[in-house]
């Protein structure tokens, strides 16, 4: 039995943040109905990355929206809105990621939906919450990474700002929204009361950096300084980083420099008997030169038996060939209604020994209209 079986989620959200939350809820067993604009639908359908088009739509859309239904309805038309409300009456969760004010104008604010569905969990993601100066700014991932100083943590000292190379703030906000929804559903299940749940990308980006931001608040306002080379964490000493070897790369996490000195037979490190944070650039420099002299496996074969925290650095090809990856069965094949199939990842959570897989691919725009109208609206 999936934990969210029998729950109905009506999802107005687009792009990544909201839809990634409803994907998680779908995998946990909920029925998710995407509400989309007729003709165009979720803008993500045409948001191509590296021009990869699958079955006429973007790969990103297919990744985020599998295991969902699509209901195309022009709810700006009053009579269509009335139809939609019949569906909302039955929903356990109504969610959206419009900018503040949009749902109010449509007539689907929390207050409005609560009137027809008093125990609804009403959830929204915005870029910046309801702040008057910010609420109309685009809640876009790179802009949030830039605004919240996240770009000063990765890369090396002279690299300038280095963004994290995927939409991390969107995904965090989606993860936090899913948490808020689940917590509110639990309260609804135990106390039969509804809730409004709000998450903003700004707050999620702060939460992600809670360690480094709290450090900044309490260390007299010192800015993070990345190491000159091999940086992996602005606040950690040597050897923490990724190093080039003769045939690839090696990651070294925390470790004692004297121990590494003798294991790696790196005499130049003898000058650094204490692992002083202030000397991390010098230590990394010496390590980098030394590690280039042999293959990755040569170093791993010395370091792993000595319980040094280290790993080779893999790309997707390398990863997919590893037994440690294969045993996870992390990929799954899904099929769309028209028979088009594609491979993607599965839900990362396992409950009572069960992986939450689903063979249901993403929906074509409006593919479930007939069924949904019959079930919820035609009466």
């Amino acid at each position: 039995m999936k934990p969210l079986e029998d729950y109905l989620i009506v999802d107005f959200s687009q792009f990544l943040s909201g839809p990634s939350a409803s994907l998680r809820l779908a995998d946990l067993g909920a029925r998710v109905i995407k509400i989309e604009k007729p003709g165009t639908g979720d803008i993500c359908r045409t948001l191509y990355t590296s021009d990869l088009i699958m079955n006429g739509e973007s790969s990103v859309f297919h990744t985020i929206n599998r295991n969902k239904e699509s209901f195309a309805i022009d709810f700006k038309q009053p009579e269509e809105l009335e139809k939609l409300k019949k569906l909302l009456v039955k929903a356990d969760v109504v969610m959206h990621n419009f900018r503040p004010g949009v749902m109010e104008r449509i007539g689907l604010s929390y207050e409005a939906v609560k009137i027809i569905n008093p125990t609804v969990v009403y959830a929204s993601i915005s870029g910046f919450g309801n702040h008057p100066d910010l609420k109309d700014l685009p809640g876009q991932d790179l802009l949030l990474q830039s605004l919240t100083a996240l770009t000063w943590l990765s890369g090396n000292q002279e690299d300038g700002p280095v963004p994290m190379g995927l939409s991390i703030v969107d995904m965090l906000a989606g993860a936090h929204l899913a948490q808020g929804i689940l917590a509110a559903l639990y309260r609804k299940a135990t106390h039969n009361i509804g809730a409004s749940v709000q998450v903003s990308m700004l707050e999620s980006a702060f939460d992600f950096q809670f360690e480094t931001i709290t450090t900044y608040f309490n260390d007299g306002g010192e800015l993070p300084v990345r190491t000159k080379t091999n940086n992996a964490h602005a606040y950690l000493g040597a050897p923490y980083g990724i190093y080039k070897t003769k045939n690839g790369f090696l990651a070294l996490a925390m470790g004692s420099i004297p121990v590494l000195t003798s294991l790696l037979k790196c005499d130049a490190l003898l000058a650094f008997p204490e692992n002083k944070f202030a000397l991390r650039d010098e230590i990394k420099n010496i390590l980098a030169l030394h590690l280039q002299t042999k293959d990755t496996d040569f170093w791993l074969n010395i370091l792993e038996p000595a319980d040094i925290w280290c790993a080779g650095v893999l790309n997707y090809q390398g990863l997919f060939a590893q037994e440690g990856f294969k045993v996870l069965e992390f990929t799954q094949k899904v099929a769309m209604l028209d028979g088009y199939t594609y491979e993607t990842t599965r839900c990362p959570i396992k409950i009572d020994g069960e992986y939450f897989t689903s063979s249901k691919g993403s929906p074509k725009l409006g593919q479930d209209n007939e069924k949904i109208i019959k079930e919820f609206i035609a009466l």
Binding site: L52, Q140, P163, L166, F208, T214, I242, T344
Partner: protein, 382 residues
């Protein structure tokens, strides 16, 4: 009323992933009790950034463990173990991130725990799952980033792999753990039975890459290729996406109609009208844009671009960010206080419920600070 009010969580987890989940549950209203070895307590208490300590424990520990209680007990001591079992009998949730096998040895694996409390929600975090050749490998964040392919997504093509500069595998896994535990509460509400929740750092850091991995799986095994111009921001996205230096700092340009953006900036991009070139020639295009953007201040450009509705923004550092009025207006900071009255400023829960932010004044506990209280409440009559 906070949604998890009345629920008791026993946290055997250490370091970041598990305790970050415990913190979220605490902010959502659960009572989270850290089970720690006497005197030294959780290992993270001594793990510091820049040697910053609040009391006997590091600022780092305080950041992750505010709003929790501490019960000191030695799991290897039979008398203490009896107390722990009495606590488990009255708890709703327990979490641990011991390596596979450890809880089995102590006699507190899921099966044995169910015998003590048939309604327990039992959550575990591992590095790589319980089976396979990696099961015993150290579950450390940088190693997970390195093994999972993540380090090939940031930075530039001609650079070494560039890891994310914070513990993204730990933190995402903590987030997934919270989701799993909350879903388990819903399942338990229906079945009345205990539930086992399992997450791993590896699956979580792969889930973050679901878009890139799905591309790889459906694009004939093509690997992501980073741009090679400074400020490259996403391996799969076309120009102008990225960070640019200006006369006085940096700004970011998100996705948009390149030709329109070129016009707004006063750059001739007529050679790139064909949309497919925006990806193919992104380094060339971004170099042209970068040269132009160097000629004015960031504020200057932002004004020009925002007027046209172009998605752009300034790049702040922590100081500039902290100086923004919205930080206080949105109450993004909170002050917490420990039992000695020492205070520190930290962040708060990112989730708002019923229009309210979730804050708590309670700082992290000292080792065993709540032993007496917990004895009186849970153990004296049990």
């Amino acid at each position: 009323m906070r949604p998890l009010e009345g629920l008791v969580v026993l946290e055997f987890c250490q370091f970041l992933a598990g305790p970050s989940a415990g913190l979220k549950l605490a902010d959502l209203g659960a009572r989270v009790i850290k089970i720690e070895r006497p005197i030294k307590g959780e290992a993270c208490r001594q793990l510091s950034i820049k040697d910053l300590f609040v009391d006997d424990s590091s600022l780092l520990f305080h950041t992750i463990n505010r709003n929790k209680e501490s019960f000191a007990a030695d799991l290897k001591n039979p008398e203490d173990l009896i107390l722990i079992k009495k606590l488990i009998a009255q708890a709703d949730i327990m979490t641990h991130n011991f390596r596979p096998g450890v809880m089995e040895k102590i006699g507190l694996d899921f099966k044995e725990t169910l015998a003590i409390n048939p309604k327990i929600i039992y959550g575990t975090i591992t590095g790589y799952g319980n089976i396979g050749p990696w099961a015993k490998k150290p579950g450390q964040d940088l190693l997970l980033q390195s093994l999972s392919g993540l380090s090939w997504l940031s930075g530039r093509k001609s650079q070494e792999p560039v890891p994310f500069g914070l513990a993204v595998a730990d933190l995402m896994c903590g987030n997934h753990f919270v989701q799993g535990i909350l879903a388990a509460l819903l399942k338990r509400a229906k079945t009345g039975k205990g539930v086992l929740v399992e997450v791993s750092l590896l699956e979580s850091v792969l889930d973050v890459q679901f878009e890139a991995i799905t591309s790889f799986l459906n694009d004939g095994g093509q690997l992501p290729e980073r741009g090679d111009v400074k400020g490259s921001a996403h391996a799969f996205l076309s120009a102008p996406y990225g960070v640019y230096q200006t006369l006085d700092g940096y700004l970011s340009l998100a996705m948009g109609d390149l030709i329109f953006i070129g016009n707004a900036l006063g750059v001739d991009l007529n050679a790139y009208v064909e949309k497919s070139l925006w990806f193919e020639k992104r380094d060339e295009i971004r170099t042209i844009l970068a040269n132009k953007l160097l000629t004015k201040t960031a504020d200057n450009w932002i004004e020009i671009l925002q007027k046209e509705g172009i998605w752009c923004g300034k790049v702040f550092n922590y100081e500039e960010l902290d100086n923004q009025p919205f930080v206080n207006e949105l109450h993004l900071k909170q002050t917490v206080k420990n039992s000695d009255g020492a205070t520190l400023v930290t962040t708060r829960s990112p989730i708002q419920l019923d229009g309210k932010i979730l804050t708590s004044i309670k700082a992290a506990p000292k080792v065993g600070e709540d032993n007496q209280n917990i004895h009186e409440q849970f153990l004296n009559n049990a």
